[in-house]
């Protein structure tokens, strides 16, 4: 989480969520940047700065699945839970009609347009700053 915040991403949500239809766990990062910048642009910026972040070595950008907080997954869970930081494990739960198995590290509310614009501005500033830093990992 701190690495994603350090990158300026300031995600509204971060969690491991089990996709029951696929039988697979996915690391989901909910960020308003998906709506304001577009998915490709956010991934591209993350790929550019990944080596400059304090992420676990085994975690790559490919492990991250971006979702928009305006989407139904985020809204469904945030209707019941608000997690600023920490860790909450949800097991075999039905939340607002959705079957959820997840480990949630952050899950806050849908940001306002003003807040989303601020997040984008900060992300772009931070990406520029990190571009000048040496990589932390090879």
């Amino acid at each position: 989480m701190s690495a994603l915040d350090d990158a300026g991403l300031q995600p509204q949500g971060a969690a491991w969520i089990f996709d029951h239809s696929l039988g697979d766990w996915r690391y989901i990062v909910a960020t308003s940047l998906v709506d304001t910048m577009g998915r490709s642009s956010v991934y591209k910026e993350l790929l550019t700065i990944i080596e400059k972040l304090h992420l676990p070595r085994e975690l790559t950008v490919q492990d991250i699945h971006l979702v928009a907080p305006s989407g139904p997954l985020f809204k469904t869970i945030s209707g019941a839970l608000h997690i600023e930081n920490g860790r909450v494990t949800v097991s075999d739960c039905i939340i607002n009609g959705l079957r959820v198995d997840a480990v949630l590290y952050r899950w806050t509310g849908v940001p306002s347009q003003t807040k989303a614009a601020k997040v984008q501005k900060e992300f772009k500033r931070r990406v520029k700053e990190l571009a000048d830093c040496p990589p932390l990992r090879a």
Binding site: G23, R39, S40, T48, Q62, G71, P72
Partner: protein, 129 residues
């Protein structure tokens, strides 16, 4: 520019653009497997939600090719990750997760970009089999 032109041709129905762009990728990956393995059609045993998930599908069919291509270009990798996130369930009018203009344009560009788009690479891969 090319995505905007393509979108205008569709009448800017974002939901349809999104779904068809992603479905084209799904079908292309499946075509590669069919050609590689000499099948006459997609195996009946390999049906279900997993086979519409582009991440799992790519992992099963083109894992090594994709790894090499991703390493060669950050732009391609960003486009692939965008395409990977396509959901075959986002197609119905009145969907709980309606496709926005940005969603549709983003995916379309990732698919059709002439230099680093995913479709061009898959087409080249298909031809090389």
């Amino acid at each position: 520019m090319e995505a905007e032109k393509a979108l205008r041709a569709t009448g800017q129905n974002w939901g349809q653009v999104y779904w068809h762009a992603g479905f084209a990728i799904e079908q292309m990956i499946k075509a590669i497997r069919i050609k590689r393995e000499g099948f006459e059609e997609w195996p009946a045993a390999d049906r279900g939600a997993k086979w519409h998930d582009l991440e799992l599908l790519a992992d099963a069919v083109i894992k090594d090719d994709l790894r090499a291509r991703r390493r060669a270009s950050i732009t391609f990798e960003a486009y692939w990750l965008t395409v990977r996130d396509w959901s075959h369930e986002r197609r119905h009018p009145g969907d709980a997760n309606p496709v926005t203009r940005k969603d549709g344009l983003d995916l379309l560009l990732a698919v059709i970009n002439s230099s680093n788009g995913v479709m061009k690479w898959l087409q080249d891969l298909y031809q090389s089999v």
